[in-house]
Symmetry: C2
Subunit: 350 residues, 2 copies
Amino acid sequence: MVKTLEWTDAGVRFIDQTKLPTEEVYVTCGTYQEVADAIYTMIVRGAPAIGVAAAMGVALGTRDANANSVSELRTQFDQICETLAATRPTAVNLFWAIRRMKNTFESISSQPMASIRSALIKEAQQMYLEDIAACEAMGRNGAVLLPKTGGVLTHCNAGALATCGYGTALGVIRSAVAQGSKINVYADETRPFLQGSRLTAWELNQDGIPTTVIADNMAGAMMKQGKIHAVIVGADRIAANGDVANKIGTYTVAILAKEHGIPFYVAAPWSTVDLATPNGDHIVIEQRASSEVTHFAGKQVAPTGIRVENPAFDVTPNKYVTAIITERGVAKPSYSESLQELGRKEPVPA
Amino acid sequence: MVKTLEWTDAGVRFIDQTKLPTEEVYVTCGTYQEVADAIYTMIVRGAPAIGVAAAMGVALGTRDANANSVSELRTQFDQICETLAATRPTAVNLFWAIRRMKNTFESISSQPMASIRSALIKEAQQMYLEDIAACEAMGRNGAVLLPKTGGVLTHCNAGALATCGYGTALGVIRSAVAQGSKINVYADETRPFLQGSRLTAWELNQDGIPTTVIADNMAGAMMKQGKIHAVIVGADRIAANGDVANKIGTYTVAILAKEHGIPFYVAAPWSTVDLATPNGDHIVIEQRASSEVTHFAGKQVAPTGIRVENPAFDVTPNKYVTAIITERGVAKPSYSESLQELGRKEPVPA
């Protein structure tokens, strides 16, 4: 399976997701600023992958910081964390990962600089392993929910490319297929960044899982034709009441699923669940450059100067969500209770 | 206002809609085969414009046919009609226009060839004028339905570029704006052909009507944010029971409108109403090339060999349609009765 991101001595190595599916190019970010740029420009994207990438960026920046004391190191560490936290506002995994790195620093701040540095690298690598383990556990927990035979619609890319491997929504699909389910995946192309046609189709194609690409506006017609039997997507942040922030267009897909009586599942690691955010109204939605909508592959497709909206995410209210699949188990309504209950469980070990 | 199509002695002149919004290029089709190609390749598109373009193609082909008798002319006329009818299957205006040209031929088939030829040219030009008059009447009939202030979402292009001028859905918007309504138009970009971002935004921008382009998958989020107060779209065929075939994605928008309690209007000339088709299940939906989805401006955006669905249209069941605006009046549920009633009215004169 593709290595979405990887810690190396030379820096953090990413597959460049802006170049897929036509070019399989890897880039190594040798500084934390380069890691921050890679997150901002979406060389790496997907909430779980962003979290681990940021942790590795923090480890890298701290390793290479020019400091004469732990106190100096901490000042630079804080600034590195700030830079990485400023890249993208919606995916809570980013802040979760940075907080975890801060906790690690605090827990050994009385030790020599070399120990702190190596502990941070170890922590980032541990998060990498935990992410893969969480995806595999999500797959085991969620596979039974998918149809034994039929079409499963997904939006954006919640696959190996959005995580450290295996995927969240696509991990559940992979697990169901491994257990013998005959699933045809319908991949919304997911404008404006085309994560569906470029990334989901690419990685499922490599696995030999039958995949059909559709434009986002075809999902309703496919459901009406009886081709879709379940929807499964990832998440960038899940509020305490089960409202789900995910790639723009997810809300529309959820409404379509409800109208057609099709179950709508969300798969995400526990690090995506943000119990400190009571509901979706409190989730900051990133607005991205209008050029993502007005231009395509360098070609202008809208009149010069036209107004554009380009929210990167939307919020799907909990009433549209059939179940939330995590590595700790499957939450069902009412989410205010079921998510609290999962929160009390032990983390799944790597 | 832009001349979408125009009869000239040299042939049928079109603005090339595949080149907009960055290039304003006109092409003159000197043969009926070139007109058929222009329809097939979407140099001209939009149900009303396709109808008149086909009529002009028939007039052109018949004018230039090498025939020694009316009988020979009729054979060639029939073949010309067949070629033009085979270009696109969904928009009923194409078949309506060709049938009208056939009726014209029949009504004067005892006259000399020159008279038949000039009668066909005159009939096509008459249809051109009637189309503009119908759009203006739709505007008068529908303007009152739109909000005095607020956002109006449209999908695809149902504007001057889809007709001989003024537009159907955009004609209603133009009329409302002319009467003082403060309307912000939200234009779905409308993948895969981008009629919204390329064409609707272009023509409304030229009129100075405030327009915001969004990706198709953002419509739900805009509605949830309270930015959309009405939806208005065109149609390619309206069945006797009020089911509406229109650009792929219309069905999704209609469901979103229902879910948010927003009225969903359809504006189309009477020639789009097909009382011979009982309901939407009987409407043939055109499937277009997968390359429209997998490639963009020559750039590959999906893995080589991936499966694609590319239906050009979908059917919106009548239960989602608040009203159908025609030049003969506004039909409301139950459409089986209201459309029959409009059918008994006199056509609107050019």
